[in-house]
Structures are given as structure tokens and as C-alpha cells.
């Protein structure tokens, strides 16, 4: 094949930051929402729990049951996508050399991180809308939506940082196993399905310090019209900042 002279004449330069951010975040969000396993984890399981726990009285809940279940399912949705889904995707992206590829473009590191954060927020927004619609159909009567949005955003950042910490440091298979185990443990014993207050008191004081418990408790308070206590915000911020700082040291490109 011959190419007209001048076809490849150098004209280097970085793209516009907003466009880079938009295309990167859109690509990442699309990939998540197109991936069958991710959709199962981030949407189908939370929806199944929402409907199941609302309609079947397997655990004791104050009624209306849907008002008690929805905040927990929203917290689970954040755990599923921002932490487990993110960690697994990052583990395999590293295996496939994606980070190296993107690091070799003009995309600055801060945009690389920001793009993933925005994509994570978009996915959580999609989850929140779908879960809320189904919950409303089940008779959910929420209040305090602004607090909910703020908590979901902070929860996404916190669990996202934890997900990057896990997915950025270990081998893809190890990440896959650990991310699922942590998901399962936090779901059952991390203050999500069983409220922190209903746990044995020795355990409750420890579990209350977990980000999963903080997010669940915060969302429960917010959606029943209360103001989430300071401890919720502090716990989520502390875990997020701690994980983020550690992750900047441990995250590897491959």
C-alpha cells in the first residue's frame, strides 16, 4: 500500500481536557453497562433483593418493608459497582494493558482517575434511578432525596477508592476472588442486610466503623426524613481518603 506524502506528517498535541474526560468516562461507563456479569452484579442482584426482601418476610423489618429495604439495596448497589465491579474491571484492564495504553497517550494521570470516577458516578446514578423506580412501584415513600444523592456520591468515591486499592495492586484472579468475598461478607455482616443496630452489641460497635454500615445507616436515616449524623460522613471520608492515599502508592499499570 502506498500513502500520499504528508499523510503522517507529525502534528502532535494533547486533546481538549473536557473532550478527553467525556470520551474516556463514556467508554468506561458503556463498557460496564454492556458487560453481562457487571449488570448481574450491579443491577439484577440488588433488584432481586429489593423485590425479595420486600415481598417475602425472611428477616424481620419495620413496615412498610419497602421503606426499610430500599436504603439497604441502594447501599448494596454502591458496594457492588463502585467496589466489586470496579476492582474486578481494573484487575483485568491491567492484565490487558489498558492502563499502559492510556498512560502512553496525552491523557494526564488526573484525567485518567477522574474519567473512572465520573464513569463510576454515572453507573451509580443509573442504578439509583432503576432501583428507585422499582421501589416506588412497590410502594416506597422516600423523603430526604438530596441527602440521598450526597451520600450516594460520597459512598461511590469511598468504595471506588477501596476498589482501586484492591484492583490496582493484585493479580486479576486474586482481585476477582477477593472482591467477591468482601462483597458477600459486607452484604451479610457489614450492616447492609442486617442493620447494625440489630447485631450483637460487641459486633455492632465494630461493624459501625465499616463504610458499608455507615452508608446503609446514613441512607436509612436520610430516606426516613432525618439528617445523617456526622459520624456517617466522617467514616466514609476516612475510608475513602485512606484507601485513596494508599492506592496512589500501590497501584501498578500492569
Amino acid at each position: 500500500m502506498t500513502f500520499p506524502s504528508g499523510t503522517f506528517t507529525p502534528a502532535p498535541g494533547a486533546g481538549r481536557p473536557l473532550r478527553m474526560l467525556w470520551v474516556h468516562a463514556r467508554t468506561e461507563a458503556t463498557l460496564t453497562l454492556r458487560n453481562g456479569e457487571q449488570v448481574l452484579l450491579t443491577l439484577l442482584i440488588p433488584l432481586a433483593l429489593l423485590i425479595g426482601l420486600t415481598l417475602v418476610p425472611v428477616i424481620a423489618l419495620p413496615s412498610p418493608r419497602v421503606d426499610a429495604v430500599t436504603p439497604r439495596v441502594l447501599a448494596l448497589a454502591v458496594l457492588s459497582s463502585a467496589f466489586t465491579g470496579q476492582a474486578i474491571a481494573l484487575g483485568f484492564d491491567r492484565r490487558y494493558g489498558v492502563l499502559k495504553r492510556l498512560a502512553a497517550t496525552a491523557l494526564p494521570r488526573w484525567l485518567l482517575v477522574l474519567g473512572r470516577v465520573v464513569a463510576g458516578l454515572v453507573v451509580v446514578a443509573v442504578q439509583a434511578v432503576v432501583i428507585s423506580v422499582v421501589a416506588l412501584l412497590l410502594g416506597w415513600s422516600p423523603s430526604g432525596l438530596l441527602w440521598m444523592v450526597a451520600l450516594l456520591a460520597l459512598g461511590t468515591l469511598c468504595f471506588g477508592a477501596l476498589g482501586v486499592l484492591l484492583g490496582g495492586a493484585l493479580k486479576a484472579e486474586v482481585v476477582l476472588a477477593l472482591a467477591n468475598v468482601v462483597w458477600f461478607v459486607l452484604l451479610l455482616a457489614g450492616g447492609i442486610v442486617v442493620a447494625t443496630a440489630d447485631l450483637p452489641s460487641g459486633m455492632a460497635s465494630v461493624v459501625a466503623l465499616l463504610p458499608s454500615a455507615a452508608l446503609t445507616d446514613g441512607l436509612t436515616t436520610a430516606l426516613s426524613g432525618g439528617v445523617p449524623p456526622l459520624s456517617v460522613w466522617v467514616t466514609l471520608t476516612a475510608w475513602g481518603v485512606g484507601a485513596g492515599v494508599l492506592a496512589t502508592r500501590t497501584t501498578r499499570l500492569t
Binding site: Y96, V98, K100, L102, A104, A106, L107
Partner: protein, 303 residues
Amino acid sequence: MSESAVEVADVVKRFGPTTAVAGVDLSLPRGQVLALLGPNGAGKTTTVEMCAGFLRPDSGSLRVLGMDPMSAALRPRVGVMPQGGGAYPGVRAAEMLRLVAACARDPLDPPWLLDVLGLSGAARTPYKRLSGGQQQRLSLACALVGRPELVFMDEPTAGLDPQARRLVWDLVSALRADGVSVLLTTHLMDEAEALADRVVIIDGGRVVAEGTPAALTTEGQMLRFRTRPGLDLTLLSAALPESCVVAEPSPGAYLVSGEVDPQVVSAVTAWCAQQGVLAEELRVGRRSLEDVFLELTGRELRS
């Protein structure tokens, strides 16, 4: 703008007990093509990854377009085709190229580039379902789409069919003609001879030879012939001029290197007659890079 595109001086890189690169020097003048040639494990990828800013050397100095290879200001000016990988497992070929193109100010047109690389039909195929050769070509597209001044290609033709390989050669020639500097690695001799202005041969992390393909290969001629293995070469050595060296690099394949003139040829055939053997496939020619490598390292370059 007169400095070299790449300047590597006495660079060392260790991985635990392994010294992958043991003091490599190389220099790529702007607008030229340099081939880094060597067998598996020679240290080619490690060298390229240091130049591309993926790895920090343990010692030595590296300058790329006059800058530290890790410098962020360098990223838009350099295109990198790593050895293997480089896309999300689930991303479609066209999506990936569009993403990389979005990072550049004035990119090549992604659909055009996909078409050039024969990937139009696979534009909507997820990366992990592309064939190995298609993944290679997508990786090359990503390296070129930003119109870089300098391109690093790590084994750009590994695993490609002859037609795709030819295409990559044409692309490299077009890049060079348009003033782009290219540093590529290969373990294919003909590739280095066909594409490169300069060849650097490395083995065991060290540079064993360096120069233009012509200088490396015309420094003497070769006479080759095949006959019964294991003949005693002392008589032949004695009959040849001082400048000639005779060897049997692999059983039954004999090699005379040095100033090969008609007298040398006649001495060889006379010696064969004395030994009562027939010299088959006797030919005189320029050394190939293959021969140079064999001579320098005592080993064959796998191809």
C-alpha cells in the same frame, strides 16, 4: 530541533537477580528508523519500555526528544505500540481507537485508519474476540492516530500474516518519508535490513553490534558450502590467506569469511577434492545480518 530523537547511554535495568539490560547505548537521529534486533529475552522490550517511560532505569541516562522519558509533556509527541495487549477486554475496536484519538489535538481519522489497517470489518468486534493479528494492528493504529513525532513499536510484525507484515513495512516507510522517527524491535533479520537506517543488535542485555545494515553486512564476504560434516579444517585454513576464517557453524554447513576472491574459491574446491568430497550449494555473497549475529553470539537468531 537538532538533537536526537532517542539517546540512550549506558542504561542498566535489573529485575531481581536478572539483569535485563546491562549497559546499552543507542542513538536514533531524528527522522530515521532504528531497529533493535535480538533473540527472545535479549532485553528489547525492557529497553523500549524505558524509552517509553513505563520503566525507570537503575542507572544510565535516557533522553527522548531531548526530555526525560517520564515527562508528561512528551506523551502527545510519542506513539507507543507495546508488545501485546493495550485495550479493554470488552471494548470494540473502533471505540478503542476513538478513545485514543480523542486524546490527541489533531488525530488521523479513525475510520480511515481502521480501513488502512484492514480492520473496518472488525470495527464492532470486542477486543478479546479479535484475532492476534487484528489486536496487533489495532495496537499499531493506536500508536499512530495522534500524529506523533516519534513512534516506538515493539515487535510490530510478530504474529502477522505476510500480507499484514508487508502493510506494516509500507507504513514504516511512509512514516519515515514524512519525517517521523521510528524505533522498532524485531527478531527478523530481513525486517531490520529492509526498514532500518541503523540496526542495533543486542543479546543478553548488551549491544553486540551497531551500524547501518550495509556497514554491518558488507564488512567482508562469505563463501558458504555444504558437504560431509566434521571435516578437519586445519589444512584448509593453512591454504587460505590470513584474512580468511573458516568454520563449521552447524554440522555440514561450512563458512569462509573474509576477503573472498577467486583464489579462495579455488583453494576451497581444491581442498574438497583432496578430501574426496563434493562441495554442494557453494555460493559467495554478502554477509547477512543473520551471519553477523551468528558470528557475534555463536547462536542462531530464531525467526
